[in-house]
Symmetry: C2
Subunit: 418 residues, 2 copies
């Protein structure tokens, strides 16, 4: 076995042992660990910012893009926000041990479905070092251990942040190995994590660009919570209120164009297109959005041509594809054909149409009269999220502390036999 493989295996063994200790600890102990983690992030500010400065200097020397360096960069204010994020998670309700359902059988057996931690989470991310603290905190809240593998460009920053988090765990009497980072930038480490470290990883959460997520989904031998892309739709139904249609579409596309919940395609019913598309388009153009339409949309508003590929494209940019549809059925069919089962919205005052859309669109999040940019764990009230999942099993939509748990059946009897 290579040194890397042996090291990674050891990380897995330590994570599993820490996970058992965490799972059996009291909620108050996990909370104390989170609070100490937040304190240590501040106490170790100098070390973290010095490490970060080394990463940033290397990235500049390598000529990496301004936007990349901005994602990598930490300062006292950003570090304060990271520590505050950990405190928010410390204040969340502890999900472990919660009784999800309870019933008594005719033979007197009392059966309860009780939340338990998943176990060990593997997190693979790119340049933002704050992900280490966010993910570490959420994992711990749900009683899980986590193994972090950040991008090589942020290695020093992540190592320093993880050292602070581990110091906090130790201070609170929790096992420091609940949060570990892969010490090497060796790309082989990712492959070993995706293989599950000999059964030590229960689920992988990738966070980063499409190529990272695609690799994880293709290669992982353990379950993955992820979304490959967010091809989100806003659909203006015949019964839409015009003011809501304008405001929601503008916000859904332009509030932030780089988030996975940003709308990428506008669908609009033919009967209202001539009336509603011009004011919607005018507002989008005013905000700096490029429009690409089908022939019917272009007959109403002057815009570029949308090709077939546009319906399948997550722009993550100020570009919106626009399609005129026959009716609700056609909108649902378009979303089924081209969507990514992430987040889709209907704008209408017609309750029957809304109910059908909400039932028949098979996406993690379906909205009625609200911006697709609400696709976010914080906006859902989860306090934080480790990511958004478009898979169909276990976690779907924003993944918060609750979705990082599983359950077991606890059966209490008094001597029952079959």
């Amino acid at each position: 076995m290579s040194t890397l493989a042996a090291d990674m295996r050891e990380i897995g063994v330590r994570a599993r042992a820490a996970a058992r200790a965490l799972a059996n600890a009291e909620a108050a102990a996990r909370t104390a660990g989170l609070e100490a983690m937040a304190r240590q992030l501040i106490a170790q500010s100098d070390a973290i910012l010095t490490a970060n400065a080394r990463d940033v200097a290397r990235a500049k020397a390598a000529g990496l893009a301004e936007s990349f360096i901005d994602r990598l960069l930490l300062d006292a204010e950003r570090l304060g926000a990271i520590a505050e994020g950990v405190r928010v998670v410390a204040a969340l309700p502890d999900p472990v041990g919660e009784t999800l359902a309870e019933w008594t059988r005719p033979n007197g057996l009392k059966i309860a479905r009780v939340r338990t931690p998943i176990g060990v989470i593997g997190m693979i991310f790119e340049s933002r070092p704050n992900v280490a603290a966010d993910a570490g905190a959420l994992a711990l809240r749900a009683g899980n251990a986590i193994v972090l593998r950040g991008g090589g460009d942020g290695l020093d920053s992540v190592t320093a942040i993880v050292a602070a988090l581990r110091a906090g765990l130790s201070e609170a009497g929790m096992p420091a190995d609940a949060i570990q980072s892969v010490p090497s930038a060796d790309r082989g480490a990712v492959g070993l994590l995706l293989a599950g470290l000999d059964g030590s990883i229960d689920v992988i959460v990738p966070r980063g660009g499409k190529s990272l997520v695609a690799r994880v989904q293709a290669e992982a031998r353990v379950p993955v919570f992820a979304h490959l892309e967010g091809i989100c739709h806003t659909y203006i139904h015949a019964g839409a209120d015009l003011a809501k249609a304008v405001a929601i579409t503008a916000n859904a596309k332009m509030r932030r164009v780089s988030v996975c919940g940003a709308t990428e395609t506008l669908l609009i019913d033919r009967v209202v297109a001539a009336q509603m598309l011009p004011p919607i388009a005018a507002e989008l153009v005013r905000l700096g959005c490029e429009l690409r339409g089908d022939s019917e949309a272009r007959a109403i508003v002057n815009m570029a041509v949308a090709e077939e590929a546009d319906w399948r494209t997550e722009y993550l940019a100020p570009i919106l594809s626009v399609r005129v549809v026959d009716d609700l059925d056609a909108a649902i069919a378009h979303i089924a054909a081209y969507g990514s089962q992430h987040t889709d919205c209907i704008v209408t005052e017609d309750g029957t149409a809304a109910a059908r859309f909400l039932r028949d669109v098979d996406s993690a999040i379906v909205l009625h009269n609200a911006s697709t940019q609400f696709a976010d764990g914080g906006e859902f009230g989860f306090g934080a999220e480790i990511g958004i999942a478009t898979g169909r099993l276990h976690a779907r939509g924003p993944v918060g502390a609750e979705q990082l748990t599983t359950f077991k059946y606890v059966v209490r009897g008094d001597g029952q036999i079959r």
Copy 2:
């Protein structure tokens, strides 16, 4: 593409289309489909029993084992029981559309977590043809389509049963393609199912021997609900009631030795071993059980030697390994080291010890003072089960109709933007 691959792909496309129709149907329509399926199983008895007779004749000519042929064999009575099983599922509550949680955000957004079907289930099983009807019914109750792949020896029986189920679906106006079976005994079909039929299969459920489950777990590129084995423990704590200890151990081991919930290892606290092991052992021996013990157990009761391998063995036979342990911690450590996270029981009158065992043993089902043979969907009140899962994600323990669903977030607004 080979003919088989093209055929299988087509099966997947049809299953996905049927799943969409099923998901959007009313609960009453699914119920009507299930009731018609049960009627058609009886109406088509002659065809099913004739097909089964062909399978049985082939199996006898091939010299297959008596026990194998008994699992394959159908008669009017067994077919009646199969139809009755479908009727039981028809009477279960329909889980689709159930609101699991609901809350309102400070901005007025109403968020609901609503049950939806998973989509398309792939079921790979061995010789029992009744599995086709049981699994088809449960899948339909939860709004899913299913693709069935039974063992080659029961191909004619499964084909005839599936024809009856499909006739029932058609009679009730539901898409017949919600239940399909792989027409060929070609073993390549299993590989194609495990690869997910180009995204058409959402989850695979294997049902059969350990080698089948091991292959599915090793090769599947989609999630799997399964248990590889059930190495279940009954632990007699120092605070056990002797009468309960005897009755529970005897039942847990000997009621049926071939089920996954049968106890394979007895753990007993040292302080009560001399008192309690003799009567427990006497009852087991009376029932025909062979005992294999560690040195301490053998010093109390005459029995065979348990080797290290015995602690890791699922006998599925009238054999029980017996180990004397120091205390509760040692019992929990033994189960963590050797168990299969399936089903484990503590026998004690000490509530504190029971609570610790129920919390710290990380198995799908943990029991206090009740036989491990209660590990069964029917006994849990689920009406039926498609299998028992020891994985940690989505489904755990007996997999009934509820565990064959997922959820989506339905968000209702009145024009909210971020």
